[in-house]
């Protein structure tokens, strides 16, 4: 069509003619696009940074690690790699990033460091080091360290010959700076180079490495070498791996998905808004469009014209959305920097522009606008040319509300059946219920309006009746607005119910699981990847204290089963039950722990059992550092630290054999009989002074802190609900404004026959309130159904969560709904009251 330019021109002029409405509708797109864009320029960047921080970026041609990330003996692998054709040089490295204790770091603002143990001679055959000051490591150096030159920025006191202490698995160790490397690296996570034996001692892993670095012969084909290396080593090794086996990485990816979902939901509500506006536009321009048909425009041309207009709004909204998204991302980074650093240390959060982020945001924005505009555009195309010839009369929309009511009710009944079925089906039921509500909404408007009518009449007298009849004239639009609000409020109730249920779960688990007197924790709980724990020295020293009766510890490794990541925790089946307990849903405390001491056996968490479809007695082929091993399931159980992860408990003996891990990441201890809390704590703390990577808590206090932090984390749920409610409020404001624009002439008549400004204002306010009450009523129903469905799904995940009726959430939703309605009504009510009577009467 070669008249697209003309269409665009007309669309622009029409949009410009109703600036306020254009702005409100466009905002709907702006918001969704901004959210999606903001998320996608921050999180993937963080993931990439994370990946980079984990993989060897330091200049070796190729790196090899164990598939589980575990360490291994160099003799078993190095010679095999050395012999591969195309490999010029190899060297073994033991490297790890870990979080530094929050206080007392000699390295300035660094929150974590990467420690790399190397053999200087072989390493220098693999890659070049540039030393900017001092010297490189010598093979017989002990306690010597090469630091990045950039460290001067955060720790200016460090110079050649300086010494500083650092945490290690065997207590604090002191190192002497011998040189500065020219490598800049990340200042939030400086890289330190030491001799291999020093690092092996620091990590409590004598004789072990975890990375092989390779330099290729000139002209060697990397892919071929990689293949040959893997053939030589077997499938327990991977080339250039890194982030694959990282739990924090998985967490960031999951949050990326969830946040994107929220963005899509926001856009979905935006689509509602645009649909609403364009339906109004088509009604308003009935005569213009009919005339265009009369002078020869085809149906297709009319449809295109309206589509061009919605697309234009999409384009404008998307552009502003990109800009706003960028600002949001900057604000998010600023606001979250602290939180983020404590969880994902070593990764600086930043904005990463990528074509993908721009394209996905733009595509979603434009598609939403087009899709939302499509149905009104199609309706516009069906306008008869005769409409141009009819005198302008107010058009009332009488849609087939009855049939949609029936469809809605059928869907809701189906949804209730699905909800009662529980499990995964219940989630589907929740969604079906929501769809059913949206479908039934136009049909519910009339009866609900009648229901609330006495209340409204009581409050607003005649104005209330007028407001109600205004809504009833446009049940379709009222329903869409109420539906927008409904979704927002339903999400709020859902969040409230989830917080209640999870809070209850945490409380129950916390009460039952903590049996020890003292709890010794690393900087982050449940995420042990960046933790530098302690070797046997700590447990031995604690056990030697007369105040301590029993000590038990957790060890950590990561593994996989059929491609699913699994966390593996090593416990001593003899001591662990004395200081802690698990909630068993299959097996029992006595039998399962006893069985854990015999052969390769495991207790899995409910989440692991449900995701991997495991039952008592099943045998699984678990990925270990030394290849796949068969483990038998002897129990299904979890505690507060593991309930949200797919975790496997195995004995520490098996962990040492299969994962080469003997490092304790968390310890629990019981005092000897008669020892007071204060005295016991003081004794433990004397030992812990050498291991500042740990924090010591009395278990009672720790339990409370844990419950408190968990509740604090739940606030994020409410934040998400807020994000959804914002477009709902916009939708309400939009509908009210459009209603008033459409009825300008009518308002003029009301004023002309003697209605006061106050009365007009009250009509609009009553209308807003009525919409708010509709939305809240629908939202409560949908919210209860959704929360029931989602919480039912928890049990499918293996968590025994009771459904607690979210009374507070429902009250909050009603209050929020009514408040949003009143707030959204303020501006339109005021502008309606201030209309110039003469001009209002002439308004067309």
């Amino acid at each position: 069509m070669n008249n697209l330019g003309q269409m665009t021109l007309m669309a622009l002029r029409y949009l410009n003619g109703r600036r306020l409405r254009t702005a409100l509708t466009t905002l709907a797109i702006v918001f969704g696009v901004a959210l999606i864009f903001a998320i996608n320029i921050t999180l993937p960047g963080a993931i990439a940074a994370f990946t980079q921080s984990l993989s060897s970026l330091t200049g070796a041609d190729m790196t090899i690690t164990n598939v589980t990330g575990a360490s291994f003996a160099p003799e078993s692998a190095l010679p095999l790699v050395q012999d591969v054709e195309g490999v010029a040089a190899v060297t073994g490295v033991l490297r790890r990033s870990f979080t530094l204790p929050a206080i007392g770091s000699e390295l300035g603002s660094a929150t974590s460091i990467e420690m790399i143990g190397i053999e200087p001679e072989t390493m220098q055959q693999v890659r070049q080091f540039t030393i900017s000051d001092g010297r490189f490591l010598q093979p017989d150096d002990r306690g010597a360290v090469v630091v990045p030159a950039g460290i001067a920025e955060i720790a200016p006191q460090i110079e050649i010959g300086s010494t500083f202490p650092l945490i290690s698995a065997a207590g604090l160790r002191t190192y002497t700076v011998v040189g500065f490397s020219a490598e800049q690296g990340s200042l939030s996570q400086p890289t330190l180079y030491l001799n291999l034996p020093d690092v092996q001692a620091a990590f409590g892993q004598p004789g072990q490495i975890n990375t092989i670095e390779i330099a290729l012969s000139p002209g060697a084909d990397a892919a071929a070498v990689s293949e040959a290396v893997l053939a030589a080593l077997g499938d327990t090794y991977i080339v250039d791996g890194g982030a694959a086996g990282n739990e924090a990485f998985a967490a960031v990816q999951a949050s990326l998905l969830v946040l994107n979902l929220m963005g899509v939901l926001a856009l979905f509500l935006g689509a509602f808004l645009i649909f609403n506006t364009f339906r109004t536009i088509v009604i308003e321009r009935r005569r213009d469009l009919g005339m265009l048909r009369a002078i020869g425009a085809t149906r297709g041309q009319i449809t295109t014209m309206i589509l061009v207009e919605s697309l234009l709004q999409g384009v404008i909204g998307t552009l502003i959305g990109l800009l706003l998204g960028y600002l949001m991302a900057s604000a998010m980074i600023y606001g979250l920097a602290g939180v983020y650093r404590s969880y994902f240390s070593g990764v600086s959060l930043g904005i990463t522009m990528s074509a993908g982020a721009v394209i996905s945001a733009v595509a979603l924005g434009l598609l939403t606008a087009l899709l939302a505009g499509y149905f009104p555009a199609r309706a516009a195309g069906r306008i008869s040319p005769l409409d141009a010839l009819r005198p302008p009369t107010p058009v009332s929309v009488n849609r087939a509300t009855r049939s949609s009511l029936i469809v809605g009710i059928v869907l809701m009944v189906l949804a209730i059946v699905m909800l009662l079925a529980g499990g995964q089906t219940a989630v589907g039921g929740a969604v079906v219920f929501l769809v059913g509500m949206v479908a039934a909404a136009p049909g519910l408007i009339m009866p609900l309006a009648r229901l609330f009518s006495p209340l409204l009449t009581l409050w607003f007298a005649r104005e209330g009746d007028l407001a109600r009849s205004n809504l009833q004239r446009q049940p379709g639009r009222a329903a869409i607005t109420a539906s927008t609000l409904m979704i927002g409020l339903a999400v709020l109730i859902l969040m409230a119910a989830m917080v209640l249920a999870l809070g209850q779960l945490v409380n129950t688990l916390a009460d039952r699981n903590f049996a020890s007197d003292v709890f010794i924790t690393p900087p982050s709980i449940s995420v042990y990847n960046n933790v530098l724990g302690a070797d046997a020295s700590l447990e031995d020293r604690l056990r030697a204290l007369p105040e301590i009766e029993t000590v038990a510890s957790l060890r950590y490794a990561s593994s996989g089963l059929d491609g699913t990541r699994l966390e593996v925790l090593g416990i001593d089946p003899a001591t662990y039950p004395q200081v802690a307990s698990l909630e068993f849903s299959a097996g029992s405390e006595v039998e399962s722990f006893a069985a854990l001491g015999e052969g390769r056996t495991a207790i899995v968490t409910g989440l692991a059992a449900s995701t991997l479809n495991l039952e008592m007695g099943d045998e699984i082929s678990l990925q270990t550092a030394n290849g796949a091993q068969t483990y038998r399931i002897v129990g299904i159980g979890e505690d507060i630290l593991t309930f949200k992860l797919a975790t496997l408990f195995i004995s520490q003996a098996n962990m040492a054999a299969d994962f080469n891990k003997t490092e304790d990441v968390l310890l629990m201890a019981n005092f000897s009989p008669g020892v007071e809390d204060a005295a016991g704590l003081a004794a433990v703390q004397t030992v812990m002074a050498d291991y500042p990577q740990f924090t010591v808590h009395l278990t009672g206090q720790y339990r409370q802190t844990l419950v408190d932090t968990t509740s604090a984390a739940f606030v994020i749920f409410y934040g998400l609900a807020g994000l959804i409610l914002l477009p709902a409020a916009l939708g309400l404001l939009n509908t009210l404004t459009i209603n008033i624009l459409e009825r300008t002439r009518e308002i003029g008549v009301i004023r002309a026959v003697g209605g006061s400004q106050r009365q007009v204002q009250r009509i609009v306010t009553a209308e807003a309130l009525l919409l708010g009450i509709f939305g809240a009523a629908l939202g409560v129903l949908a919210g209860v159904a959704m929360s029931y469905g989602f919480i039912g799904a928890f049990s499918a995940l293996g968590w025994e969560v009771p459904y607690i009726f979210p009374v507070a959430g429902i009250i909050a939703a009603i209050v929020v709904g009514v408040l949003i309605a009143l707030f959204a009504g303020i501006l339109p009510a005021r502008s309606a009251a201030r209309l110039d009577i003469i001009r209002a009467l002439q308004y067309e």
Binding site: M1, N2, N3, G5, Q6, L9, M10, R13, Y14, N16, G17, R287, D288, G290, M291, L292, R293, A294, I295, G296, A297, T298, R299, G300, Q301, S384, P385, L386, A388, L389, P391, P392, E844
Partner: protein
Amino acid sequence: MFILKTESLTKKYGSESQPIYALRDLNMSVEAGEFVAIMGPSGSGKSTALYLMGGLDRPTSGHVWLRDKDITTMNDDALSKVRRESIGFVFQFFNLIPVLTAVENVAMPLILDGVPRPQALERAEAALKQVDLANRASHRPSELSGGQQQRAAIARALAAKPAIILADEPTGNLDSRSSDEVVAVLRRTVDDFGQTLVLVTHDPRVAAHADRIVFIKDGNIVDENRLKGADRAEQIREKLGRVAMSEG
């Protein structure tokens, strides 16, 4: 040679058992360069006849021939093309697009027909000149008087050089001075450019400018007249009165 001819044109509303005829077997023909006025009391079917002639509505039975083409059998797109290229409409409510200038409004049918914008605007300017509105080309409808708006609407009808212009009460919404202006412009298009024109009106002063007047009542032609003389308007008024009083 006729430009437009209706053949047993019938439009029926209501149920099968109690049909209401808006038009019943209307047979009427319009010659090239002729200015025909259709008159009749309200509800007589005069507007319905005009809509059917212009392909805005579909008849219950019968045919409308535009030169050698039967437009009653066309599909919607073909009909749109006919309206675009061969028929010009003028409405009682001028129906200009409020966000477009006068010249852009006039160019609209051409643009819809795929004429490139510069040429379309050029031809629109020429059409505006024809209705003495060249000096208002870049005004929006809201900046024009009623008479000027209607002249712009006439220019829009003329722009595509249609075979026939159909005007539905073009002065119905105007004061008498503007009304005279508009009728004068319409008459001139017939006299100076040989335009064929059918006009529906209830105003004898407007009808007086036509070459031929067709009186319709109850969906059919009851009288047809070519009037002469200075008191034509008076004659028409009289005739109209008689038509209204007559039975059947």
